[in-house]
């Protein structure tokens, strides 16, 4: 994985000192909150319902064992002993003190970590496929491209005060494991005539007005990507709406102009910018790529795994994905124990994951937009021992992509923006469907819960989605069906009137019972829904 050189280190160190000075000026009153807020947001520091929250960047969802240990250290030393993995592959700490924030950033900088631009109206963390570098279906590892963009977007002087936040995702396979089409700009690495380049999508996003991204350009070569993206961002910076915060994302601009007119403006800007000498040489991407060379895989390893323990066998079948190197596997670590808080991990669990990564995964981990962790390079022979260690720590749940592997935002328990709680609902659903093996019977079922319309829980893209709303001061939940964040991208449809917390759990049970009654062959819930439509489900729910 990428290692900072002295330039990269100097940048994060300077950023720490800049924020230390800004914090000092806020605490002395020299800066008002209105003046300080954008500055602290650009260092990942929110003011939430109970405390400041710090969102640490995990660039493109890759981190090392020492970095994971640092996250555990921060949880233990500055917070209340735990952290929360997010739908953008980052980690959040919920109980941070402003006066500690500069020291926390300084600690992070010692292991090449930061909280730069994880919030604010700027370019955010660039997310990527969590199986990057280890999946046989990828055209190339997307992470070097993501790192190139991370550097390009960090402290970009023209794009520091955009109309609104800007999110990139990078994948490199036809299968979309990173919700690429639901980002402001999505990048799919493709190969044309033996050359790898970027297929660009623009204007995807969830929130109040969910939209699926449009193809902006079929192919942008390595040698022109930065100039092209500068053009795309410049058009957005100049013409994105500034009059209404809820209509300020690029998806609205693309919708209002139409993709053809937006594209025309980008191409014009690209033609003008192209001669300015702003493009890094291709050698820079090659330099970055060298850090992502495959680890020293052993050869001649056994392919078979001892399945005699039925609990292990279930985890093996459910959570372990095929690795492109013989004898190896990709291990998905569930942060969704039955009845637990989705995406939360204790400091002890973070430390354990670091240890396990060192012992079993060449010291490397990934985070996923579904709030789980991945150990990407595990010898098949090590899987039983790995699982045993995970299971002992409550990290061995065998539920990848099952209904209990749900995405849930922090919701009204933590978030000042929320209208309803999401975690207690997630816990109830988890307990109901874990009973009698129901989660396993239902098969692949991606359930996603958002506590408000900002959709941090991706409810529009859930096979089953739940949106928490405020109905005359009471929590109420709307149910959506048929969304997907994968390459078959679709937005969910609302079923009808909402429910209280127990009511929506019952409604989901009716929906899934109908699926079980009507499914043909091996089709997933999503496929049955697409085949038979909303009407039968509506009837089953509302009787």
């Amino acid at each position: 994985m990428y290692r900072y050189d002295s330039y990269d280190q100097a940048m994060v160190d300077a950023r720490v000192e800049e924020f230390r000075d800004q914090t000092r000026r806020r605490l002395s009153g020299a800066l008002t909150e209105d003046q300080f807020k954008p500055l602290r947001l650009m260092n990942g520091l929110y003011l939430q319902l109970h405390a400041y929250m710090l969102r640490v960047a995990i660039p493109y969802g890759t981190l090392s064992a020492p970095q994971m240990r640092m996250l555990a250290h921060i949880a233990r030393t500055y917070d209340k002993g735990y952290g929360h993995f997010t739908t953008r592959q980052n980690l959040q700490f919920n109980w941070i003190r402003l006066e500690d924030a500069p020291d926390i950033l300084a600690d992070l900088a010692t292991v090449e970590m930061h909280a730069i631009q994880t919030s604010g109206n700027c370019i955010r963390n660039i997310s990527a496929d969590q199986y990057a570098g280890v999946s046989a279906d990828e055209v190339a590892d997307p992470r070097p491209w993501a790192e190139l963009l991370r550097q390009w977007s960090s402290f970009h002087p023209e794009f520091t005060y955009l109309p609104r936040k800007f999110k990139f995702a990078v994948i490199a396979s036809e299968e979309d494991r990173a919700a690429m089409r639901l980002h402001d700009i999505g990048i799919q690495l493709v190969e044309r005539d033996g050359v790898v380049g970027a297929r660009l999508f623009v204007g995807g996003g969830m929130g109040r007005t969910p939209m699926i991204g449009h193809e902006l350009r079929d192919f942008v070569p390595e040698s022109a990507l930065i100039a092209y993206l500068e053009a795309a961002l410049r058009v957005y910076n100049r013409y994105g709406r500034r009059d209404n915060k809820y209509k300020a994302r690029i998806k609205i601009l693309v919708h209002e102009l139409g993709i053809d007119d937006y594209r025309r403006q980008v191409e014009e800007e690209f033609a003008a910018i192209g001669a300015q000498g702003i493009e890094p040489p291709v050698e820079e991407l090659a330099r970055i790529r060298a850090f992502f060379a495959a680890p020293d895989y052993e050869t001649g390893l056994p392919e078979t795994v001892d399945r005699s323990d039925p609990d292990f066998a279930l985890w093996l079948d459910r959570n372990v994905a095929a690795h492109k190197a013989p004898g190896y596997a990709i291990a998905n670590v569930s942060l969704k124990p039955v009845g637990g808080i989705p995406g939360d991990a204790t400091a002890e669990q973070l430390d354990l994951l670091a240890d396990l990564a060192e012992r079993y995964s060449f010291g490397e981990l990934r985070t996923t937009h579904s709030q789980n962790v991945v150990l990407p390079h595990v010898r098949k022979a090590d899987l039983p021992a790995l699982w045993q260690a995970l299971d002992d720590a409550g990290l061995g749940t065998a539920n990848l992509d099952r209904i209990t592997d749900m995405i849930a935002c922090p919701g009204l328990d933590y978030c000042a923006l929320a209208n309803a709680r999401s975690i207690p609902l997630a816990q109830k659903i988890s307990e109901r469907f874990a009973r009698a093996g129901k989660a396993e019977t239902l098969g692949e079922l991606k359930l996603k819960i958002s506590g408000c319309i900002n959709a941090c829980g991706h409810h529009h893209a859930g096979h089953i989605g739940i949106l928490g709303v405020d109905r005359k001061g009471t929590e109420n939940y709307q149910l959506l069906l048929g969304g997907s964040a994968a390459e078959d991208c679709s937005l969910g449809h609302i079923t009808g009137p909402g429910f209280d917390e127990d009511g929506v759990v019952d409604a989901i049970e009716r929906v899934t019972d109908l699926y079980l009654a009507r499914r043909e062959d091996d089709e997933r819930f999503l496929d049955t829904y697409r085949r038979i439509g909303m009407a039968p489900f509506k009837e089953a729910i509302y009787d």
Binding site: A10, P38, F159, Y161, Q276
Partner: protein, 151 residues
């Protein structure tokens, strides 16, 4: 009395804002340029409308009514890319924390509504020894330093 900060120097010296030049609005300038050498751009103005006139302009003032509206950064940068060589001045709700980005986008001077702390201004302009991107200030980006291409 507004001070005018010179962003070209790391010391960020300031002097009282010169009272002699009153920039025309873009609309007024385009309608009747006359002998005018100074234009003021609002966030919603199209900076490219000035491109045919760059050679005769000595001052383009870019207004920032609120610092969170970042359109002026694009206006400045594209004027520099098109070859404008006169003074680029950022005025309005300009805080010390924006000075470095303003400089990088090609601004020469800043005329903030509220007084700036000179020491903090200087620190802000000199804090980052290097830069990741090529921009309008001519600083060598890190990717060029890595390739051994100084200049």
């Amino acid at each position: 009395m507004t001070d005018l900060f010179d962003l070209r120097s790391a010391e960020a010296p300031s002097a009282p804002l010169p009272a002699d030049v009153k920039p025309l609005s873009l609309e007024a300038f385009l309608a009747a340029p006359g002998n005018a050498t100074a234009v003021r751009l609002e966030p919603g103005d199209d900076a490219r409308a000035l491109l045919p006139h760059c050679d005769r302009l000595a001052l383009v003032e870019v207004s920032f009514p609120v610092f969170g509206d970042g359109r002026g950064y694009s206006s400045a940068r594209l004027l520099r890319e098109a070859g404008y060589r006169g003074e680029l001045r950022a005025s309005g709700d300009v805080l010390v924390d924006q000075l470095a980005a303003l400089r990088r986008c090609g601004f020469d001077t800043a005329a903030p509504d509220a007084p700036l702390d000179a020491a903090v201004a200087k620190a802000s302009l000199t804090r980052f020894a290097d830069v990741y991107q090529a921009a309008a200030d001519g600083r060598t980006p890190i990717w060029a330093r890595r390739a051994g291409k100084e200049g």
